[in-house]
């Protein structure tokens, strides 16, 4: 169904898609077993998904997400556990605060804050993750391709 292939963020030849490229960073604890795998990519209707599993959404540093955007991804979607379910108690709350912070920074440099988002969900299947990515792709489509993709 989908290749659990290694997703190499810097490999520009992996940008075949006409669709927005959304990187999904998902917490391992928020998944059903089927979806567990360290990193995979999938072209699907309306979106090109690159997914990377995190031990906890709080491991997502602000610089990590900015690096992903800098390398050309059109958007980043973080899938974190709901507040009461975080195995590390405040991990997903921290992730949420960081996403808010990044959105503010993006606005300051003229990027659409919609390029970064967070969803608090549990027991996601791969299809559900792809749906979340598609929703994010739809949100950023009006803003066009990430300027970092253009030229050298």
């Amino acid at each position: 169904m989908f290749a659990f292939g290694k997703a190499d963020m810097s490999d520009k030849s992996q940008w075949p898609s006409q669709n927005p490229e959304v990187v999904v960073l998902y917490c391992q604890h928020g998944l059903c077993d089927e979806a567990k795998g360290s990193a995979w990519y999938q072209e699907s209707k309306g979106v090109f998904v690159r997914a990377v599993m995190m031990p906890c959404s709080s491991k997502i540093e602000v610089s990590y997400i900015l690096n992903i955007l800098e390398s050309g991804a059109d958007a980043v979607e973080v899938v974190a556990c709901p507040e009461k379910s975080c195995k590390y108690l405040v991990g997903s709350l921290r992730a949420e605060k960081r996403i808010e912070y990044i959105r503010g920074l993006l606005e300051k440099i003229g990027y659409a804050p919609e390029r970064v988002g967070i969803n608090r969900k549990l027991s996601q299947s791969p299809e559900q993750l792809i749906n979340l990515a598609r929703a994010r792709a739809d949100a950023v489509r009006p803003f066009g391709v990430n300027p970092m993709k253009k030229g050298e």
């Binding site: 602000v62 610089s63 900015l66 300051k108 440099i109």
Partner: protein, 223 residues
């Protein structure tokens, strides 16, 4: 710690856009503690600046480094190689660090990436508050551990003024406690209210920056 915050990003982009290759340098001491200039912040600011510059059509390469301290020549020296590769440096250390780099790597332009503004403590996660004004004439022994020079908006030594709000906050900033209210309460708790009825004379500001740029020599440490 010495407290600093990022300058507005527009300002930084405006300075960097004319350059080809820039070294962004952080510091792992004070500015790291106030989440403005440590390695984490360097790694956040660098992609942000690259994205902002690219969007505006400028082609600027940004390389990064973080020093243990930017106020020690031994650490500053570690940048020697990278400094030859760039046409500008941006330091997100405090003003001391910026000047150390400017002095060592003259004639390379060194820009500040942060505004240094206070001497603070981190009261809790995400909250820094001024504690010291570097007045050079410390009276903390007489004010029960609360500094009115740094923490009273008017630096009163015989406070409080009439501006203490009903909830004990300061009229200048409703989020800030009237420090004199705290001093009086603590004095009272310790049965020492009388000590505050003595008139504190006008301060001698000459040992602080008011007396002129400081230059201090310790003969016992000179070589």
């Amino acid at each position: 710690m010495i407290f600093a915050e990022w300058k507005p990003l527009d300002e930084l982009i405006d300075k960097l856009k004319i350059h080809k290759k820039v070294l962004l340098v952080g510091c792992a001491t004070c500015v790291a503690e106030c989440a403005a200039g440590g390695e984490k912040e360097v790694e956040t600011l660098a992609p942000l600046l690259r994205m902002a510059l690219k969007k505006q059509g400028h082609c600027v390469e940004i390389i990064t480094a973080t020093l243990e301290k930017q106020c020690e020549w031994e650490f500053v020296e570690q940048l020697a190689q990278q400094a030859t590769e760039v046409d500008a440096i941006m330091s997100i250390a405090c003003g001391i660090g910026v000047q150390a780099l400017a002095e060592r790597f003259d004639p390379i332009t060194v820009y500040p990436g942060v505004n240094t503004s206070a001497l603070t403590i981190r009261e809790e996660a995400g909250l820094w508050a001024a504690r010291c004004a570097a007045c050079g004439d410390c009276i903390l022994g007489e004010t029960f551990g609360y500094c009115p020079v740094a923490r009273c908006a008017k630096s009163l030594l015989n406070g409080p003024c009439g501006g203490t709000r009903k909830d004990g906050k300061c009229e200048v900033n409703e989020e800030v406690d009237c420090i004199w209210n705290l001093i009086v309460e603590r004095a009272d708790e310790r049965g020492r209210l009388e000590s505050l009825s003595k008139i504190k004379k006008a301060k001698d500001w000459s040992n602080s920056g008011h007396g002129g740029p400081k230059r201090v020599i310790r003969e016992d440490l000179r070589q």
